[in-house]
Amino acid sequence: MAEATDPVTQTALLTTADGRPLKTALAEAQAKARRRAFLLVVPLILFVIMTFLIPIGYMLKRSFEHDGFASSAPAMVAWFAANPDFDPTNPPEEAYAALVSDLARMQVEKTTGMAGTRINYSVPGTISLFKGGARAAKNLTPPFKEALLAVDAEWGRPALWRGMQSASHVYTAEFYLVASDRKLTDDGWARGGDKERIYLYLFFKTFLISGIITFLCLLLAFPVAHLLATLPMAKSSLLMIFVLLPFWTSLLVRTTSWIALLQEQGVANDLLVALGLITEEGRLTMMYNMTGTIVAMTHVLLPFMILPLYSVMKVIPPSYARAARSLGATSWTTFRRVYLPQTLPGIAAGSLLVFILAVGYYITPALVGGADGQLISNLISFHMSKSNWSLAAAIAAMLLASILLLYWLYDRLVGIDRLKFG
């Protein structure tokens, strides 16, 4: 009886017809199938690694790594390493000596721009300072402190020395500080002035607008998806074509048609004036502001809400609603207690999808956003075009982190396995 209840001993003793242990045979048989299955997904894995993981990893690396100064100013790097606690308000002569020798070397190696650009990220105005310094460096004689300050008094700014110290490390959190509205001042990193703070505000605004867009999409998509799921096949297919139509039109075309429709001399305003609802002078401003951004983006993102909702609603049998009604629930109670909870996976998936897409959108807000419809992605795009990739990467990484946070929250609250994208 003891052997019979011990499955391990039992199976270990079993062999196949030709005498091999059963376990080995099974493992071999399955290994082959597994290998084949794996080979099938290898192209996908490679594709994902090359087009997704590597670029994102590269971006993340970029956000805290920059060797523009560290690689072109070896003497300064050495000096900063030896004197981590120097007084930036009054750096000693050796520091200036190292700086001048590095400037001379930059002039020869043509790395002035690289080094200056790196420092300019945290201390604006330094690229031309470095160029001037590098041009003069080979003619300077000790004492270097006086000599360099004579070239440009800016060289004595404590903020500049702090910036160079920070840039002497290849790895830095500086870009994240800038992306959180910190400024390098003569006394170190501090919160930027009222007129300069923009990133955190835009992060907040981006999330707020994305939230509003998500909510509007949900409000509009819910009845449409319900109709799609309940109409007879022929009609629902037609409706589905209308839903998908935006996917077949270029994003730019759609955005510009919203401009034509909503601008002050646009169709919507003309109509309202013609109907006498507003006067010629009282034309509404619906474009080039936050309203325009919200309207256009809600339209652009609507299908991403409809499709997951539809796929969830389609498989909810009508008998649930009937059951609830027969059990005594009013139609509102039926909707609230029985139908709505069952569409939650679709609502969650659609909202997540729309929200994440909205957070990263920049073409539409750039075209219709005007002054107050700008989102954080517009600044990422700006810094990309202005060659400050590290700052762009840092903002993007913060955006990524907040979306991952959202995912995590979602997983905690709803459970990621309940998502249904369609």
Partner: protein
């Protein structure tokens, strides 16, 4: 059960018609009264209108014409949630996002019942179907049979006077289905509720019902007790739909009261009971149950006609033997014999004579 004579009908359909497209009627002039405490089954092939009738009763479809009354009150204009009718669906329709307990509490909650009363009733309803230990499970964690019981308990938990069941056992395997048939039947008897049951399974209908309404083509073809339905079908549709039947076409040779002599197309004369044939010379379809066919002359009443038959095939089915015969030009005539110790062995090719009691041969519309 003499429901036909009851005039204090609990549920009544009066001249009810239903059309979806305004062109064809799916329910044509339905008149039906169901007594209090009765178990009535609507039986019929798909598209016969039985489910539509049930949906009209539940309030999910509106009658195009006619009146439906529940306990004396017209309910055409009453929304489903105010009808107080319990319903069991084919796919159970248990709310997947609620536990078993929450599912059962739902109808009580929407009626504004307090928590302790609710818990009480839920417990009693679950005990009734022996499922109390599953109260915290979700429907997805239950087997089909268990879900069926919960659906049943949920339809009963708020003490409805009437319970509708729409093919509730259709998704279960045979054994479980038979078991559940008894369980539902016993619940019905114990609680004394009125049940309207829809199925396309005639076995289920015969086993469970007090009366069965056979639907076809939007009409009730016959409304009768299971035994009447089986033994005394009133038209050839019912005869063919319920159980197995041999059909012999012919014409009425003689007609006198409850006796008729039918000449088959091949010339033989047989005895039959006239059901819905009116006159001599009319075409008819004689229907005979296979288990009522005899081939031993000593089993036949004196003077009964017997006709020639040839054994084509013997099928061994365990409890019975099934003989396929050639009778009156038909190769599909079936005779069932009990598989007893002394049963005469027939072999294919053997020539025999077969006959039946005249009351077992029913001369119906062609």
């Amino acid at each position: 059960m003499a429901a036909e004579t009851r005039n204090d009908a609990f549920v009544a359909f009066e001249r009810v018609q239903k059309s979806y497209d305004g062109v064809t009627l799916v329910v044509k002039d339905l008149n039906l009264s169901i007594g209090k405490g009765e178990f009535l089954t609507m039986l019929g092939p798909s598209g016969s209108g039985k489910t539509t009738c049930l949906m009209m009763l539940a309030g999910f479809e509106t009658a195009t014409n006619g009146e439906i009354r529940l306990d004396g009150q017209p309910i055409n204009q009453v929304p489903p949630h105010k009808r107080g009718i319990g319903m069991v669906f084919q796919n159970y329709a248990l709310f997947p996002h609620m536990t078993v307990g929450e599912n059962l509490a739902f109808p009580l909650e929407v009626r504004g019942m307090g928590k302790s009363d609710r818990d009480d009733k839920v417990k009693r309803a679950l005990d009734m179907v022996q499922m109390f230990s599953f109260i915290n499970r979700r429907p997805a964690q239950l087997s089909g049979g268990q879900q069926q019981r919960i659906a049943l308990a949920r339809a009963l938990v708020f003490d409805p006077k009437l319970v509708l069941m729409d093919e509730p056992l259709g998704a279960l395997d045979k054994q479980l289905r038979e078991h559940m048939q008894f369980e539902i039947k016993h619940l019905h008897e114990r609680l004394g509720i009125t049940v309207v049951y829809v199925t396309h399974d005639q076995g289920e209908a015969l086993t469970m019902s007090d009366r069965v309404a056979v639907f076809n083509d939007g009409r009730i073809q016959q409304l009768a007790t299971p035994s009447d339905l089986y033994e005394r079908p009133e038209n050839s549709f019912v005869a063919q739909f319920i159980g197995e039947n041999n059909k012999l076409p012919g014409t009425i040779e003689e007609l006198s009261g409850d006796k008729a002599l039918v000449r088959l197309q091949t010339g033989e004369l047989i005895d039959a009971t006239p059901v819905n044939v009116k006159q001599k010379g009319a075409a008819t379809l004689v229907s005979i149950r296979p288990e009522r066919v005899e081939f031993k002359p000593e089993m036949m009443p004196p003077g009964a006609h017997m006709i020639d038959a040839e054994v084509l095939e013997i099928i061994y089915m365990g409890d019975i033997l099934r003989a396929v015969l050639r009778v009156a030009g038909s190769d599909e005539f079936v005779m069932k014999m009990r598989n007893t110790l002394g049963q005469t062995k027939l072999v294919p090719g053997q020539k025999i004579k077969v006959g039946w009691h005249p009351q077992d041969a029913r001369a119906l519309d062609p």
